[in-house]
Structures are given as C-alpha cells and as structure tokens.
C-alpha cells in the first residue's frame, strides 16, 4: 500500500504544531504556505500565552478558572468541552514550548515569568519579550525543519491553496494548489487535509493582520461545502498604531505591564501630555471599571475608546481619532526587558520614543473568533476524547480546521494570550485523531481514480486562464479591495446598526459585480501577484457577506458584536427595592435573549457565494451562562438575583478543578 499523507494548509502556529506532531506519529506531511512558514502571521503575536501555573494556583487559580475566564470573556458562545480541554492542556503546552527552546522571560530564580492580561485577575501569561508569537513560531518552525531534514515533511512554500478536492463519496481527498512563481496549478492527493490558514483580516482592508491573511483558503473550503461558524464575531483590538498601509498592533501586554489609557479632560488639549497634571487626565477605563481597570476584556476596552473619541469628542487629536497609552511612569530598563520589541515598533514607525512620550493609539480589526465550523467528541465529564477522528473535523469528511480559522474556542470575544494557546493546542490535539482516521481508511487517496484530481485542476486552471484573458479596463482589484475594506470597517466593527449593515450588504453585492469584471494590469504567467490577488479578492466576498449577514440577523449584544439598539440597560432606580425589581426584569430579559441568541451562527455557502444561515445550540453543559457584567451600573445586584435563580434551577456542574 502506498503511504498515507496529510496535507496541511498554512504554516503558522497551528499548522506547524500539527505537522510536527503528525511526524512524531509517523505520518508524512505536505505543508503548503503562501510564504516561507517562518514568515507566517503568528510572528505578529506579541503579548504571550496563557496557562494557570504553580504560582497562580496558590492564589486560587486552576484550569477550571482559566476555563471560566475564557467562557465568561467569550460571553458563553464558546463550545465548552474544547475550551475545557484546552485549559487542561495549557500548562503542558507551555512546558513543551519551553523544552523546544523558546526563550521565555525568566524570574530572578530562573522560573518562567508571568504577566497579567485582560479578562483575568491572575498573572497567567508566559511571554518572550514582546515577540512571543515570533518566538513560539520559531520553536515550531525549527522542529518542522528537523522533520523536513529527516524526509518526513515536504514543504511547498510560495504555493497558494486553490481549493480542496472532494471525492465521489463527498469526502476530501486532496488539494489543488498553485505555484506562486511558475503559476503551475497542480493537484496533491491527501488522505486528510488540515486547514490552518489563519484569519481573514484583509477583508477589512487595513487591520493588524499580515498581507497574506486574506481569508481565501477558508473561503475556498466554504465555497466547496464546508460550513462557517460565528462569522460576525470579529475582534477589534483596542490598541493599534494607525498607518497608511497597516494598523500595527500595540500589544495588550503594554497594559499588562502597567500601561494606562487616558485622554485629557479638556478636548484636544494642546499641551504636551507630560505637562497635563494627573487631575486633568481622564483615566476612563480605570474610572469606569475599578476592578479590571485597564485590563477589561478587549471588546469592552475597544468600545470605551471608541466612545470616548466618537461620542464624547475627547480624542487627543482634532483630526484623528486616538487616545494615549502611557508607559512613561515605568522604568526604562524594565520596559526594555519586557516590552522592548513592541516599543521599538512604535518608535520605528512613529518616530517617537514611547518610553518618554505616551503612545497615540486607536482600535483596529485584529482577530476572527469565527471560522470554519469544526466538530468534537465530548467525554462524559466534559472534556474531549483524545484520539477521536471527529475532533476539529469540518462538515466535510477528512477535512479539518485548526487555529484562527476554526470557530469554537473563543466564542463572542477572545481573551488576550489565548490565541497562541488555541493554535498550538488544536494543532497538537488534532494529530492523534487523524492517526485514528488514517488507520480506519481502506483506500489511500493516491489510489483514487485520477479523474477527480484532473477535473479539479481543470476547474482551477480555467478560472486562472479566464482571469488572465479578461479585457483590460479602468477598474482594478486594489481599488475594489480598498472600497470593500472601507465598507466592512464602517459597518461591521465596533458599533453595528441594522440600517448600516443592510446598506453594506448591498454595497458588497455591487463591489462583487465589479470584482467579477475588473481588469488585470498583468496578464503574464510568471510570478503574477496581480492575478493571485484578484482571485483572493473575489473569494473574500462570500466571507464578507457571511460576516455582514450574521451581524445583521443577530439582534442582540454579545461580546464583540455590539448593537446599541439591543443593549441591556443599566439599573436606574435609586432605592434598593426598586433596583431589585429592575434586576429581576433584567434577568428575565437576559434569559429570554439567551433562549433566542445563545446559539452559534452556522453558514452554508449557496449559489453565487450567498450564505444561508442557521443557528445551532452551544454546549454550555459545564458552566451555566451568567450575565457578563464588567462595570455595568447595578451589576452586583443583577449578579445576586442571577445566582439565586441558578441555584434553584441547575445543579453546580461536576467541576474539574
């Protein structure tokens, strides 16, 4: 029998950890990436990776609490068993990365140092300077290079995934990819295909994501029949540096290490920030959220910064929306040791030293909580069955999704320093399940009839040739992309309104029509980045529509999805009895809303890239949903009322503590 092979699409943290684990299990891998894998977008992750640890444990932390923070932060839209399993694995993941040589910062005594991140009260986050993602990626890249040297991995770098090959039985049996240099389109039989292609930030034009994060690989699977979950949940990071080509991330670790967000109390105060006395500074996150302060979850920090600038008119600058992120009270040596990498980025791109002057920052599109719908097999006590071939499988048999492009770990909002964890965890965890699947297969993909592969190549070759043969005209894909980015950024980010979303959906249709016709300025067949970009652009539309349609239909506020029209009110009554009554009503409303909307959005791609949406129950069997009350006026009373109700209706879960 010929050897079985797995194709992995994408070489970031998820793709590389899956690759190395598969190799360890004796399974050969073809690894495809648009860029040399060492340059994958994971390098941009800055702050760190979460796990409970020996120190936090003694302060009351546990895997259960990491799980609870993740679910609460995600507004209960996360599927609980995968998150539980991830939290249980987190300490082991960090131990493994430590063994692989990742230079985590150390304490005086030589232990791995930790810092605090948003949405938790514990110092859970391990970090390597302020380039943790880069360092973790390098650790994995090195291991995969080792397997490459041993002949277990064939790398196809500068190859662009065109789509899956689906056999007559409806199962995935390979991929079609295009060499970005020679433009050759070729099929690769694979017994299992893993999609680890990251997020779709380019749909928003400028974001914190890298230039290859165009979402095309996920969209091509979506168009081939894979379902897409929770598309409308897009994380807008509170702190980024605005730029003409990119919105560069300013890590949450800046706040984790004590950074304070503020604006002058007087609008557009012209004094230099150092000359503004403390009393005339508005530390709005600290004032509004005394418990979490600057480390409220990202969706909340983002909305507050947006609110301060847009609604209260307190932006630092008159013609540009921004607030101060201030580190100048921290010693230079400590800043260099813990945050050097990100402070250098600010200095390099803004020409201002953030150790001396407060940074000017504004929110930017950062991460997609949604992604390809993926499955799991649950154990009786609420974790995942190790080695189950169902874990991380998409709705297409033998096609798996891991990392940012799967949907079930982060719910409605991701906590900082959980993405590196979910990427590495899902990559490691998927491998034994795939081994089980391969063992049960009777015929390897390479022995399937060649017609199915020939037909797939033919289809993609025709698409390519048709694009090159297009008549030249005045419209061009870069212009359309810019307009798409503007539409998406205006309608489907921080604040969402139904009229704007409807208008955006129509505008997307118009842009799609233009993208179907726009001319190409390069019709050559050698390293033609123009045609590759045009294809990616056309494939952005099904996902853009899924995001906007999902946002339009979801009439509620949950995590990153915020519609003021449906916001839950703060309590207004002055006396206690009145408040109690209001809290009861509040909880009724909360319950009714959950009944309707505590559901995953699951999209199927219809003809011409138009998504159909269905809603699926979320597994909340471990932790009953409770109101997310960070900073809400009257929150303590609501919580009391809610706890009373919960105690009467559902038993406390068999806690894994």
């Amino acid at each position: 029998m010929t050897k079985q092979r797995v194709a992995v699409i994408g070489g970031g943290l998820a793709g590389l950890s899956a690759t190395m684990k598969l190799c360890e299990l004796g399974i050969e891998v073809d690894l495809f990436s648009m860029v040399p894998v060492k340059r994958s977008h994971s390098v941009c992750a800055q702050g760190g990776i979460n796990s409970c640890n020996d120190q936090t444990r003694q302060l009351g932390d546990s895997e259960w609490k990491h799980f609870d923070d993740t679910i609460y932060g995600g507004d209960f839209l996360n599927h609980q068993p995968p998150v539980m399993e991830m939290a249980l694995w987190a300490p082991k993941v960090i131990d493994l990365m430590d063994r692989l040589g990742v230079p985590f910062n150390r304490t005086q005594e030589g232990f791995i140092d930790r810092r605090r991140f948003g949405g938790t009260l514990y110092k859970r986050t391990a970090f390597a300077g302020a380039t943790t993602g880069q360092q973790l990626l390098y650790g994995l890249d090195e291991q995969v290079r080792r397997w490459e040297s041993a002949g277990m991995v064939r790398k196809f770098e500068y190859w662009d995934f065109q789509g899956p090959v689906i056999g007559a039985d409806g199962a995935c049996c390979g991929v079609v990819a295009q060499d970005m240099t020679s433009m050759e389109i070729r099929s690769f039989p694979a017994d299992v295909v893993i999609i680890a292609s990251g997020g779709p930030g380019l749909i928003y034009g400028r974001s914190t994501m890298s230039m290859m994060c165009n979402g095309a690989a996920a969209s091509r699977c979506f168009q081939a029949g894979a379902k897409y979950g929770n598309g409308e949940f897009i994380q807008v990071h509170p702190t980024a540096i605005p730029g003409a080509d990119k919105l560069r991330l300013m890590s949450e670790s800046a706040r984790g290490e004590g950074g304070r967000v503020w604006v002058p109390r007087t609008a557009h105060d012209e004094r230099s920030p150092q000359d503004i006395p403390d009393a005339e500074r508005y530390y709005f996150l600290e004032e509004r959220y005394p418990e979490y302060g600057n480390l409220v979850p990202r969706d909340i920090a983002t909305r507050e910064i947006f609110d301060i600038c847009v609604n209260e008119g307190l932006s630092v600058e008159k013609n540009k929306l921004c607030v101060y992120l201030d580190l100048t009270h921290i010693s230079k040596s400590e800043l260099d040791r813990k945050l050097g990498g990100i402070l250098d980025i600010y200095q390099k791109f803004q020409g201002v030293d953030p150790r001396v002057n407060p940074m000017k920052i504004f929110p930017a599109v950062h991460y997609s909580m949604g992604g390809l719908w993926a499955d799991y097999e649950r154990t009786a006590d609420g974790g995942l069955v190790v080695g189950s071939p169902v874990n991380q499988q998409t709705s297409i048999e033998n096609m798996y999704a891991i990392g940012e492009c799967d949907y079930h770990y982060h719910g409605a909002n991701r906590l900082g320093a959980n993405s590196l964890l979910s990427c590495i965890f899902s990559g490691l965890f998927v491998a034994p399940g795939i081994q089980t699947r391969l063992e049960s297969m009777s015929m390897p993909a390479s022995e399937q009839s060649s017609t199915v592969f020939e037909k797939a190549v033919e289809k993609h070759q025709k698409r390519h040739d048709d694009l090159l043969a297009r008549e030249k005209n005045d419209d061009n894909p870069y212009q359309i992309h810019e307009e798409l980015g503007d539409v998406m950024t205006k309608a489907a980010t921080v604040v969402r309104r139904n009229d704007q979303l409807s208008a955006a959906y129509e505008k997307i249709d118009e842009l799609f029509e233009r993208a179907q016709k726009c001319g190409l300025s390069d019709s050559g067949n050698w390293t033609n980045q123009n045609v590759l970009f045009t294809k990616a652009l056309i494939d952005m539309f099904p996902l853009a529509r899924t995001i906007v349609k999902g946002a339009l239909q979801r009439d509620e506020c949950r995590g990153a999805h915020y519609k003021p029209e449906f916001a839950m009110p703060a309590l207004e009554s002055e006396d206690e009895a009145g408040r109690l009554q209001e809290a009861e009503k509040w909880c009724d409303k909360f319950e009714a809303n959950n009944k309707k909307w505590l559901k995953s959005t699951v999209a199927t791609c219809g003809a011409d890239g138009v998504p159909e949406l269905e809603y699926e129950d979320v597994d909340t069997s471990l932790l009953p949903p409770r109101p997310r009350l960070y900073g809400l006026v009257g929150g303590e009373i609501i919580e009391k009322v809610w706890r009373g109700r919960i105690a009467n209706t559902s038993p406390h879960p068999a806690a894994i503590t």
């Binding site: 730029g243 003409a244 560069r248 061009n476 300025s521």
Partner: protein
C-alpha cells in the same frame, strides 16, 4: 513638510525600480511618479504603484512584484535594497529617505540571491543553511515531560536577541564573502533531483552570519548543546566559518541589531577548540 531641491514643498516624488521580468531576462529601470503624502513607507508606495499601474511616462505597466508579510518588521519578508542600502521596506519611511536623497527613491532587489521577478528573490539558501547547522533543539518528542531545565535570567537575556533573527537576509547582502549561487534547472531533472542538486550547491558555499548566530544560539541552550559538536562540524565544513573575512558589515545592517559579530567570534573560538579536540581524539584511536 519635505522640500525639494528648490526649497519648495514637495508635491510628488520619483520612485525608480530596478525591474526584471524573469530570472533569465535583462533588468531595467522604470520610474514612477507618486503624489507626496506624509508618513508613507516603501510598502505603501509599492501598493500605490500597483493601484496606478502606470509609469512616470504615463504608459501602462504591470504592478511591481515584491515580497511582504507582517509590515511591522518581524517577518523578514520585505527585504530589498533602498537607495543603495539593504533593509526592510516596511520600516523604510519615505520622509526620512527623501530627506537624505534629493526626492528620489531607488528600489532594487537584493544582489546576492537569484532574482525571480522585479524585487522578488529566491532566498531558499537562507533556510537551507539553518538545516545544515541543525538550528533546532533535539528534544525526544512532544509528549508531556514537564518543564524544561530551569534557566537563569541572564542566559535568557543573551539568548533572546539571537533568537530574534527573522532570516531576512540583510546580513548576507552586506557580506563581501557571501556570493550569489544560481543553479539552473536541467531539462531532464525531476523536482526532487533539482532540489538536491541546488542544496548541494548551497552547502558548498558560505552559510553566512545569520546561520553562525543560530548555531551559537542552539549551542548555548541546555538541551540544544547536546548536539553542539554536530553544529561545529557543519561550521568547520566547506562553506563554514573560515570564509568569514571579518568585514563586520553584517552587524551594521541587521535590522534587529543582533550581535552577529559577537556570535561569529564565539563560533570561531568554539570551532578551533572543537577541531583541536577532534584531532587529538582521532590520534588516540
């Protein structure tokens, strides 16, 4: 506001790009006029060229091909030669360059790597060098074996800067001893045969500062050093550290300010000791 040579406010500037349609065609210069805006970087200039697809003469042209990724100087993709100096194009701010250079921006591909098209070059040799010097920690496997060895803070602070190398190739472009290796594909070769021949050719030539630095990084790791001899073998083999002419250009151009020459000096000493030890070991047998 940037002024032109006549002291007037700059409204547009010229970008000259050294273009080349394919590996075996001739290179040529093409000029573009870009309207001036504050805070542009070279990436946004290239994005604008792609959108205009017209050169300075108003003729239609193809977009310039170039490599890029993160746009925040951590991925290493967008290296090119800008006004004669090798660097990342994302962190090359147009205002600073125009200030120094009379309104003209000159973009060229790196000269030490085969050109694929325009500013895109083939840097596979950079990654091959990492294979050659075994730039990895040889762990037993990926099962849970608890934490790694405890490490002191000082060691982490030394290792971290070395580990920031993003394989961008700046140090290689600037190195007088690092010469271009171009392997032509034979017509009757399979992909694998060509790959093997190319790698053999790379292995005969200088590994470069980045790889020597990585060898020192892994030789200082508590587990990594268990195969330090193998790395020193690679560094003293053909194409090894002996080729370094100590020009020190590498450290001057490294965008991450990695102490490359310190690593090279360390590697030199370690290699010498390793060689002597090996000599006596083999005499004993």
């Amino acid at each position: 506001m940037i002024k032109n040579v006549y002291g007037e406010n700059l409204t547009s500037f010229t970008v000259k790009v050294r273009r080349q349609a394919s590996p075996d065609s001739q290179s040529y210069w093409e000029a573009f006029n870009i309207p001036y805006q504050a805070d542009l970087n070279v990436i946004s200039v290239l994005q604008q060229i792609a959108k205009m697809s017209k050169n300075a003469k108003g003729e239609s042209t193809t977009p310039v091909a170039w490599d890029c990724g993160c746009l925040e100087e951590v991925c290493g993709a967008c290296t090119m030669v800008i006004n004669g100096r090798v660097r990342q194009s994302c962190s090359a701010l147009v205002d600073n360059i125009l200030d120094e250079n009379n309104d003209v921006l000159r973009l060229e591909p790196m000269s030490k790597f085969p050109v694929i098209r325009d500013l895109v070059v083939d840097r596979s040799r950079v990654f091959r060098a990492l294979q050659k010097i075994k730039a990895w920690v040889p762990v037993d496997g990926y099962y849970d074996m608890g934490a790694g060895p405890k490490q002191d803070r000082k060691r982490q602070e030394q290792a971290y800067p070395l580990s920031e190398c993003m394989s961008c190739g700046c140090c290689l472009e600037a190195c007088p001893q690092y010469l271009k290796v171009e392997t032509q594909r034979e017509s009757d070769e399979t992909d694998e045969q060509f790959e093997d021949r190319k790698n053999a050719e790379y292995d005969k030539n200088f590994v470069g500062a980045h790889a020597i630095n990585q060898a020192m990084l892994f030789n200082s790791n508590p587990t990594g050093k268990m195969i330090s001899g193998e790395r020193l073998d690679a560094l003293t083999d053909e194409g090894g550290i002996q080729i370094c002419g100590n020009a020190q250009n590498c450290v001057a151009v490294c965008p991450k300010e990695i102490p490359l020459t310190t690593s090279i000096a360390k590697a030199g000493r370690a290699a010498t000791i390793h060689k002597i030890k090996k000599f006596f070991d083999s005499n004993e047998k």
